[in-house]
């Protein structure tokens, strides 16, 4: 079975600084996707960034980028120039490619941003 581990329950970052959120996963599959979702207090899950396992290049979306280490099964999220609106829970998630592809989530990390 696939598992996703986020070992840091909380992190804090100063506004305008950079923060990295860690995630490791375990799978026997070779074809899969990894995601970072943001969940603000509104409960709405918002997709931040997606990485396809077959791509060696790390995904980037504006201030958000990932460090994908397939051999190490590591998938960290870097937030640059942190903003107050980045404060939320962040979840790392895994989905194998193909039909019936449920998401497997980590427990999440609460990110606070200090003004």
């Amino acid at each position: 079975a696939q598992t996703v581990t986020q070992s840091q329950p909380e992190m804090s970052v100063q506004e305008a600084e950079t923060v990295t959120l860690s995630c490791t996963y375990d799978t026997s599959e070779s074809d899969y996707y990894l995601f970072w979702y943001k969940q603000p207090p509104s409960r709405q899950m918002i997709l931040v960034i997606r990485q396809e396992a077959y791509k060696q290049q790390n995904a980037t979306e504006n201030r958000f980028s990932v460090n994908f280490q397939k051999a190490a099964k590591s998938f960290s999220l870097k937030i640059s120039d942190s903003q107050l609106g980045d404060a939320a829970m962040y979840f790392c998630a895994y989905r194998r490619n193909g039909a019936n592809s449920k998401l497997t989530f980590g427990k999440g990390i609460t990110l606070s941003v200090r003004p």
Binding site: R43, Q44, A93, K102, L103, F105
Partner: protein, 111 residues
């Protein structure tokens, strides 16, 4: 366009009562998922619908939980004889190809 909607937003019920939660997916999305999020935890998969195929019920925690979906439209998640451990946020997501788009969830509180 409209996103995934869920109702009610919040539901408070008494232990032993039945509850029904509703999900309206994005129009045209063939796949629909239900997840449960306990306080301070990640999301747990409950059930998955894909078109007219038999649903994947492998995540349902007990036979008190059931779900239905009419074609590729709305879905209802029913919890019978609710227990306090059923208190959680229930999130629905719909998908066409790869991305799952989530609704705002229903917060269920069982007293």
């Amino acid at each position: 366009g409209a996103g995934v909607s869920q109702s009610p937003s919040n539901k408070v019920t008494e232990k032993g009562k039945d509850v029904e939660l509703r999900c309206d997916p994005i129009s045209g999305h063939t796949a629909l998922y239900w997840y449960r999020q306990r306080l301070g935890q990640g999301l747990e998969f409950l059930i998955y619908f894909q078109g007219n195929s038999a649903p994947d019920k492998s995540g349902l925690p007990s036979d008190r939980f059931s779900a239905e979906r009419t074609g590729e439209s709305v879905s209802t998640l029913t919890i019978q004889r609710t227990q306090q451990e059923d208190s959680a946020v229930y999130l629905c997501a719909s998908s066409l190809i790869r991305e799952q788009f989530f609704g705002p969830g229903t917060r269920l509180t069982v007293l």
